[in-house]
Assembly symmetry: C2
Homo-oligomer: 163 residues x 2
DNA sequence: GCCAAAACGTTACGTTATAACATTTGATCC
DNA sequence: GGATCAAATGTTATAACGTAACGTTTTGGC
């Protein structure tokens, strides 16, 4: 039923392909994946987990020392609005979204140990949530579901006696 | 099925009763609802919606001008750990929880218009979430579900043509 | 080329949260 | 009732997160 995609250590996807797809997605909406936005998105795509704004800034500054906070926050605002990235409110951090044609924020599984993030979609769960809300006359505009715990890899590791 | 309780404008509950219940809850856990914690909880209980840490601080400072950020953050940390309050990560704000014997963070319905907050519990939804996570080998330790939209009152108001 | 809108540069500041260490309070033991 | 240890609080300073405001550059249509 639910489908997913990972942001974890095993990232070996085609970065250029993902960036090209994102650029197309923007173009189709009459927007542009400019160089700065592209750089921030590339960093998020390559990150094993989520990244914080100031960590992104530090990376950007390696190439462009004059970059300032608005540089990265503007790019992030754009990427989030375009559905190309999500903000994890519980961590003040950001992750790339590879499923940007699916127009919403899914369930985020955030590993407390390795900090990897999986995004999972379950439309029945979302429907149930909307029903619950409707019972109280509440109409849902947006939702954010963040789940903390241990991912499969870290559970295995823990069993062997982890540091 | 799902049950709820409100933090909205119609609060006319018995503040002293709620505080006494909270104090008992703490005592049963070998902890104390000290004066500062009690004051912060009282502010949260009386608030129509959520409150920000620095707004709480400003209120506390009316009685006690020397109060500083750690004063309120310590109280909030305690209240959240004890289940007497929840943090709304999406707003960097806090709400009292009247259902503290129920040991978890439910679904938070946050009105974009009047900023009221309803907390709702739906164990089947939580179970479904845990199942989805388990499909990917992820074990859930904690979850935070924040839903934005319009509450019943604000939907009605909007229909009349709201400012 | 001219213009307007979008994007970006730059400075400064506002907001949110915590580290670190000193002091006080409170319970317990004797 | 004083010694003592842990919990709570006081106090200062600073770290971390985010945005306002305004000027400049770039882009795309005419």
């Amino acid at each position: 039923m639910a489908h997913t995609h990972t942001h974890a250590h095993d990232y070996a996807g085609d970065l250029e392909h993902d960036l090209a797809a994102a650029a197309q997605w923007c173009a189709a909406r009459g927007e542009k994946l400019t160089e700065q936005r592209r750089e921030v998105l590339a960093l998020l795509l390559q990150a094993p987990g989520s990244m914080k704004a100031y960590d992104l800034l530090a990376e950007i500054q390696k190439q462009k020392p004059t970059a300032a906070p608005p540089t990265v926050y503007r790019a992030l605002d754009f990427l989030v609005a375009a559905g190309l990235a999500h903000k994890l409110d519980s961590k003040n951090a950001f992750v790339a979204c590879r499923d940007f044609e699916h127009p919403h924020h899914g369930v985020m599984l955030i590993c407390d140990s390795c900090h990897s993030v999986k995004e999972l979609s379950d439309e029945r769960l979302e429907a149930r949530l909307a029903e619950d809300a409707a019972q109280f006359g509440f109409s849902v505009a947006a939702q954010d579901i963040e789940v903390k715990g241990l991912c499969q890899d870290c559970r295995s590791t823990d069993q062997q006696g982890k540091a």
